[in-house]
Chain length 318, copies 6
């Protein structure tokens, strides 16, 4: 097996990979010929690949998110590696390969992430808050097992959303100890709820977001979560005007901090201030970690990162 | 009766007025003496007034929003008119004066405004939209009779909110005729719902906003209205995922156009674009009208207006 | 006849079309061969087309804005339709086809638009304003029959400028009735004059802007129109310091509302506020309408629109 | 004679001064008494002054811009010097004092400034440019003898506008020698014309701007100057479409560099780029010089200066 | 002893307080009389106070930062409490009161804060980094015992700077454990150095900043600290081009994240990203804590806080 | 010899050129073939060139910054000129051609620029300032002979940095005469030091910047120069707290004027204000000159220039 990360120019190789993207294109020659323009990936990285002279059968056989066995040659095109596919076939049950082995994912097993989130949820003493949080978690519990936290920004991989929550819960716990004026119930609830509607905002498979849903574009995950809290309260007979409902909705609505970033109100209670900054520090450090992980060891600079003022990160050797 | 608008420097006068603001202050003299620092108003305008040497009884007798009979003298202080109160007493039932005669209000009777709004509401053919709009209107119907549309920005007077709606409904009607691709039901519903939660965002009496409510600050009228739509749908057995619910929530959430102005999403359906601009043009022209109305005839320039790029408006004589 | 809008992949067809754009390009093969890279359009839409192996005669025969008869085949290239031209010849008089049948244009006949604009102009009671408006309209009257209102932004088609004026005149009329403090003469004059210099700011043919003129870039249509008003006043013996000249120049100079958008002064008279917002609402709604019209029925989202906060518009089915 | 600059706390003094500002105010005492709240100045600076217990005659005798003889006492109020006026009377012809001796003014005599400007004007070889510049200079020649360049920003004193022009002409001359691709005629003309309409934008007396004119607010000096160039061309039979007219109008319209600062177009010819930066450097350095001149020797920091990023300037001793 | 926090309107009281601010003012009466306008504070809060009819001796006796014994009366002026001073004298040694008992200070003893900082410093394994950090700490060690972290923004009290460092060190420690790719030496060094030059940027006494120094204004604490690192390296024979010097200077220079906030470069190494966000979260939460601490228990809203988007914080009761 | 500037479409030619850029690419044909995608330049301009069917030897023979003899044919590709290389070989010593003849460079000989800079340096009377400036100049003296002032922005050619300094020194000299309150020593020192660290911020060869250095990205030339001044002072026994050191560091740190442009502090002494604006005017006018020089005579508009508000410059014929 040849892992993507280990391939070098001029290597001939055989291996199993996931087709992450696939487009049928035409050459510029006359007459034009069809070829498959593919992105192959495994858990260690991804590379562009070309399958020249694709037959009609080929075009009907290969699709994104399919596992394939490839015999190929690594070439250099415009200073970047690219695979020329010599042979390609779909993987079969007999090959004993599994989709989940070919994608990037959180470093902790989804089942453990969910367990931790549920424990945190059950640590909430306030009964009404616990009820509302449970209601919302139940809506997405299954998807929490695999949804990423974003399309590209940060934690963009299998179970990235749950992983982001868990890290934030750890930080929240620590900060509540540093600063006793913070209400741990409210902060815990806010951390669990703040991105809870993301699985309905985006369509994702195997940790890869393909697009935003219509609801996602027209309402946004922030307002959706606010609506869910309303729904939870009504269906659980909790007074819509109670301070708990108010506090939870405020936490969710304000967590992007400013209108420019999509929050209709700014944080105005201590826990909302804490939530915003815990979210930020975890997202930013994860962007750094993800960028370092996906930059070849030999390179000192990552690519520039939109969420970090468009700066590249330098790998200092100290 | 001496209307505020007609008072000139050195006039001695008697009249009934509303105490719009009242503060007990101390003079700088030693020992300091208490006096009442008052703003008197009637429907034609307002003036500052001082009642020197206020007794303990005085301080317990006079309050904001009370009607009083005043005998006074008009003086000039720092180039502006100011009333020196000579005698003051509370108005009694025998005086035959009514609060509503002393405040600025919409040029159309509240009862007629409500009638027009309800007619527009009943013109909505779509049953689900009609149900949701009715539910929300019912929540605030009583307050629509008198609430202003804003604290100071525009339509800041008795029934200003309903008046703003009615004018927008007229414009919306006209524009739907100009542009048949717009859905009149949706635009009508959007106009009625866009500011529907303002009476819970602000605390107002007689068309004068005293402060924002806690809910108003922590959620904002935009998210509150979105929650009401959720509530309406649940209680009326309308599918929360229906396109109608989606469209109405999008109209409300996007009507401030940008995050900077408090909308968590931007308008992305034709009627939402229309709603935002109808709201804008009506508010801006009302600011102009209000500024011209409250600027003395003799002056060519109004004060500068925050909502109009901080510009003053010039009264051109053509 | 095969209308552009009705062509599907793999169709073979014959039809007359307008060459909207044409570039001679070389293939990447060695030796490189010349081919014609063309955009064909008719009034229903446009498609890219390739004419491979163009001869020297071909390169001297075909030009942008020429009508041609094409025999072609519809292919799919990068998920978009593209025409492979099999045969192409110039249209002749005998073909009985006319340029104006092949371009997008306002939904009202130019002659009717001009008639409406002139009627509005003649409704101006103030003699000096009428004189100035007439002078400026005369400068561009012929071009008003076909000029677009912008290069791409909105109303970018045959007679789009006149159509924009007519719609604004309707709205202006309605708003003057809603708000009697507005001077209808001044608003009407402002609507007619605000974009009157656009035909000298841009070079356009058949409703398609090819480029901005040197005067357009160095002065801009706003200052040009201001200069025309000065010119009109001098040549008609109107006092340059009269309030009418001042008001008309202010209307034109301020109609983009802020310096950021090219207005050297901000609106400071009621009619200038109205003019800016009438211009805005008509332009924005036209952007929506144009985007919906040029998006295939089968698609729910238009492309993103620069003038609408870079948002795409969703075609909601209610 | 006691110059303002030399007065210290507790000084008793007599001298002639100009009343720069005067307001009749009332004390807070009961009953309130009238007093005169005055700003006294001479060419070396200015100080606030109070004349307590002003009689009716006093109130009708003293006005802004009048010369007075004052006997006074210097006090400290809120850590700043303030004059308590003991005696005050209007200056008479016999006193032999002249208004112009009491105001800040350019360090070069107005007559010499005008002479230099006219020489520069006459150095313009291009006949049409010379004609247009002459026409515009003639419009304001008299006012150039005394107008300031701005209300407060920079060169806000007697003949400040002409002084600003002269300094810019010197710099322009030097830079044309450094960079021969610049057209000296065009740069000279642009320097003379760029602020030429300021005397109609602002109302000023003795180098002190009291307010902006209606034309100034509704059109701005930039568009006014552009209109003057149109007027000059028409009345001198110069083709309105000539490149000279275009170039001069572009210089004037673009000299504030960006829409944010009031220019409807950005500089797009070399001389316009030069003009903007020569204007900037002269204005900024003059702000520094003015701030240093009006800051007491004993203080190291000037007040903060709006035009210099709101920074104060430090007087370094090297 | 009457603590500031416990005083209510109409209370007569005696107690020791610190004069935080003192200005000699004049009454508006004629003739004007001098009085002392004072701010009295103790560790529980502060109140304005007036001492009417101040004698010449009084004016020479009382100064800011002096301890006094006051007999007074609490009044309400413009809805706020204010002290009328009846008797006042300087505190003497016999009174047994100490300055440090009267000021707000960090909740941990300075000596313990310094001990913790030094322990963190000594945990730095890298010898060169340890040397540079030691050098810089030595420069300000004495002042670290009492300096605040800012003038008003956050941690504006006795030993606030050291307290801020200690809290950040705790957080840094925790985050290094969460994310092993971070270099703990570098992050610890960065936390200690990032604000190390603040004691030379500001002049402070008893935790209260009176002004910025000339060096502070002209260089800023960020560039000063960068210069100190250069100095430390030269004097300790560390190669100026070493990666350690580079990394430490980058940490300091980039910690405000953007040019807008005074950082000449943006964070581009993982530890610099972490430093910025640890600094931010600690400062923001401290602003919340400080605001809550200084807001009377009876009030639900703090004053609006500049560093928190100008929002007030709501004290939610859950 | 055929100069780049003189080549026209269809010309066959032979000449020596510098390879400015070279990339090995593959054609889209199957199988793909390698070709060399080259940018050829001489001192008069540059053109893209293709060398089809490159052999393995070719790929190992030709590199950027190499001189070559080319026989070629000028073609038009996408409306732009492009060279088809027929024969190519490396230049040899016998060819008698020199690298420096093939690059853009300052219009004054480097040796003369350095001489002028040193003369200016030696005109500095203040001994400490002279010492510090000398120290810093010595660090980069050799590189000043050839370094450009920027990567692309302005003065991006051989010795551009020294040329920029010389022009600024001339302007500084003139302005010190106009405004005697400026200290010529300090302004001269500031001009020489402001960009002195650029040769360590960027890696350049023959006046062409290939990339920013790690120090350049993590510290920036502004902070590096500030550190050099510290270094100079320590090694020359100048008091680090002296006003000279402070003034020079302030000049350097503030010369980009605002945080947005990389200055951690804003100019707060007169000479720093002057420095910033002299730097700006020289850079902007050089951008104009460079753009005009590299735009073919036949074209009226240059390309749009990032540093000039993204505007193109028009070549007016007057």
């Amino acid at each position: 097996m040849s892992l993507i990360k280990t391939l070098n120019s001029q290597d001939e190789f055989v291996g199993f990979y996931l087709i992450k993207e696939l487009e049928i294109k035409q050459t510029n020659s006359t007459p034009a010929k069809d070829y498959l323009d593919i992105v192959l990936c495994d858990a260690t990285g991804q590379l562009p690949a070309k399958y020249w002279d694709a037959s009609t059968t080929d075009k009907e056989t290969f699709f994104p998110m399919g596992l394939v066995r490839v015999q190929g040659l690594v070439q250099t095109y415009r200073e970047k590696l690219q695979i020329k596919i010599i042979k390609i076939r779909k993987a079969t049950d007999d090959d004993g390969v599994f989709l989940t082995d070919f994608i990037r994912s959180a470093p902790i097993r989804p089942v453990d992430l969910i367990y931790t989130i549920k424990q945190a949820m059950d640590s909430i003493q306030d009964k009404e808050m616990h009820t509302i949080v449970s209601f919302c978690v139940k809506k997405v519990e299954e998807r929490l097992m695999h949804y990423p936290a974003a399309k590209t920004h940060h934690h963009a991989y299998f179970a990235g959303l749950a992983y982001h929550m868990v890290r934030m819960l750890e930080l929240g716990d620590f900060i509540c100890k540093q600063r006793p004026f913070l209400n741990p119930d409210l902060l815990t609830a806010g951390i669990i709820l703040h991105d809870i509607a993301k699985p309905e905002e985006m369509t994702a498979q195997l940790g890869i977001v393909s697009e935003y849903s219509v609801h996602g574009k027209l309402l946004g995950h922030i307002s959706m979560a606010s609506n869910w809290i309303t729904e939870a309260a009504i269906l659980s007979n909790i007074d819509l005007n109670s301070d708990r409902v108010l506090a939870l909705q405020h936490m969710v609505l304000s967590h992007h901090n400013s209108g420019e970033w999509g929050s209709p109100v700014q944080p105005q209670i201590p826990e909302a201030i804490a939530l915003h900054h815990i979210d930020t520090i975890d997202a930013k450090l994860q962007m750094v970690e993800d960028a370092l992980d996906t930059t070849p060891e030999a390179e000192n600079w990552t690519q520039s990162i939109r969420g970090l003022e468009n700066k590249a990160i330098y790998r200092m050797k100290l």
